[in-house]
């Protein structure tokens, strides 16, 4: 039996998840909580947001995100992979920075426009 706080909405239900009963969730006020409890224990996922190096723009860093949630266990390899790339302005929101990052099926994409500065 595991206890966790649901992060789906501000209610913050205190969930109890029973691994031995096929991840049965109790303490949830809604079905979304049940789903969160199940995934959180079996395969917790997060969207990762960070920055990568960028040359020629207004700022030396360009913000990025994984365009879908990736397994929590991959956070550090995703961070490592970001260190290896460098963009050049101009960059547009949604530009793919790394495809299928670390084999997660998610693309790393730019989250701001970075115009070229003279």
């Amino acid at each position: 039996m595991k206890e966790l706080i649901c992060i789906v909405c501000p209610n913050g239900c205190h969930l109890r998840v029973d691994e031995e009963k096929d991840y049965l969730v109790t303490g949830n006020a809604c079905p979304r909580g049940a789903e969160y409890g199940k995934t959180e224990l079996q395969n917790p996922v997060r969207v990762i947001t960070s920055t990568v190096r960028c040359r020629g723009g207004a700022y030396p860093r360009c913000p990025v995100k994984t365009n879908r949630p990736v397994p929590k266990g991959k956070i550090w390899s995703v961070m490592e992979a970001m260190e290896q790339v460098s963009l050049s302005a101009p960059v547009k929101i949604g530009d793919v920075v790394i495809e299928n990052i670390c084999g997660t099926g998610a693309d790393l994409v730019a989250t701001r426009n970075m115009e070229k500065e003279n």
Binding site: I5, A29, R112
Partner: protein, 415 residues
């Protein structure tokens, strides 16, 4: 002569200018002191923005980017690198800009959208030496996310509001060791989802009912001392913990930035530290409006946008129809409620409904929000969970306001 001058090009100013344009104003100017539009959202690179407004989860720069493109597609004029020095009651705006120098512009209406700034070490008076290495969380966020500097390697964070929590995760991802997040209250001021995603995911301890009682170090922070506090928030001797660290981040509250407002003699509400506003976001001077964090500090940018769209629409209506007169109701905060926005409602100004934002002053479960006028109960709303860190909103049907006399009061009754 401008129809409207908007002071500030962050999320509030952008939404306000956009709404005014859509309601027909054609001479609209946004004045922004930074080099680009978007305000604080540009450094909030995490996601979770836009769930209400755009029905999808965006990062801060993406959310700002959408509004910037919408504004850029209109004829709204934008002056960047320009600081407003003074706003007058007869709607002159004095400013100084990098390209334009000193200018005085006349407007028919003004929208104040200057946002807020962080409380600093001085505001909370932490004893100890005064070394380098003490940053507000937002300053650190700008260094890390935009300028590309990591402010420190071993970090203690004071305050568990959302910015503090977000920075705990951010500093960790960038290779710093976050030793503790310290909160003086017995509960966190941040959202539960941030406690889980930002602290628990990275095994960062949260010390509730604790505070920093000393900063040590000569040139750079070397240690901070953390003590437990009693129910009156006084440090308890003998409970000191010493952390070896080089950085202290402060996430200890935000203050609406109202120097221009005060200078113009606009009435300020001491509960919000923002201007008193009517139901249409108009301040005590007719034709001047305020919206976003300059009015009251919001948790969600989606609420800022909603509020600012209303301010922009109201400014357009003012240009067309002039002053809004009529009978005024004062909105008071009763037991359990710390403030309301708006603070005053003009009955004639309420079309169908009147939205009221407010905060409660303690954590409550299974409660009723009561709207009363004198002895009369006007409306009642149920909530299963209320917390000071989460802004609340009720929508009052306009017809119910007819039952009110002179004032209405909001209070919380816990079951």
């Amino acid at each position: 002569m401008y129809d409207l001058i908007v002071v500030g090009g962050g999320p509030a100013g952008l939404a306000a200018a956009l709404a005014a344009w859509e309601k027909g104003l054609r001479k609209v100017l946004i004045v922004e002191r930074d080099r680009e539009l978007g305000g604080i959202l540009n450094q909030c690179i995490h996601n979770g923005f836009g769930l209400h407004h755009f029905k999808e989860e965006l990062t801060g720069p993406e959310y700002a980017g959408r509004f910037i493109s919408m504004v850029r597609s209109t004829g709204v004029e934008i002056r960047l690198d320009t600081m407003v020095l003074e706003v007058t009651r007869d709607k002159k705006v004095r400013m100084v800009g990098k390209l334009t120098g000193y200018r005085e512009e006349q407007a028919k209406t003004i929208i104040l959208a200057m946002g807020c700034r962080e409380r600093t070490r001085g505001a909370i008076a932490i004893p100890g030496t005064r070394p380098a290495g003490v940053f507000t969380a937002g300053a650190a966020q700008r260094y890390v996310n935009m300028e590309g500097w990591l402010p420190g390697k071993r970090v203690v964070i004071l305050g568990s509001g959302d910015i503090g929590l977000i920075m705990a995760r951010r500093m960790t991802l960038e290779g710093a060791k976050v030793l503790a997040c310290v909160e003086v209250m017995p509960y966190s001021g941040g959202l539960n989802r941030n406690i889980v995603q930002c602290l628990q995911d990275f095994d960062i301890p949260l010390y509730l009912s604790h505070t920093v009682t000393e900063i040590r170090g000569e040139k750079r922070v070397e240690q901070v001392v953390v003590s437990r506090v009693d129910e009156k928030r006084r440090p308890i001797p003998g409970t000191e913990m010493v952390f070896d660290c080089d950085t202290l981040l402060l996430s200890v509250g935000l203050i609406p930035e109202n120097e221009l407002t005060r200078q113009a003699g606009i009435a300020i509400d001491p509960r919000t530290n923002g201007p008193m506003v009517y139901e249409n976001m108009e301040v005590s001077v007719p034709g001047i409006f305020a919206c976003g964090n300059v009015c009251h500090v919001h948790d969600l940018v989606d609420n800022v946008s909603a509020e600012s769209l209303r301010a922009g629409e109201a400014a357009a209506e003012y240009v067309r129809n002039g002053d809004r007169a009529g009978q005024t109701l004062t909105v008071k905060n009763g037991p359990g409620v710390s403030y309301t926005v708006p603070q005053k409602i003009r009955r004639e100004g309420v079309k169908k409904n009147c939205g009221i934002y407010f905060r409660v002053n303690r954590v409550c479960r299974d409660s009723e929000i009561l709207v009363t006028s004198g002895e009369t109960l006007i409306a009642k709303y149920n909530r299963s969970h209320l917390a000071p860190g989460e802004m609340e909103h009720i929508v009052l049907p306009g017809v119910l306001l007819n039952k009110a006399e002179g004032e209405i009061s909001l209070s919380v009754r816990e079951a």
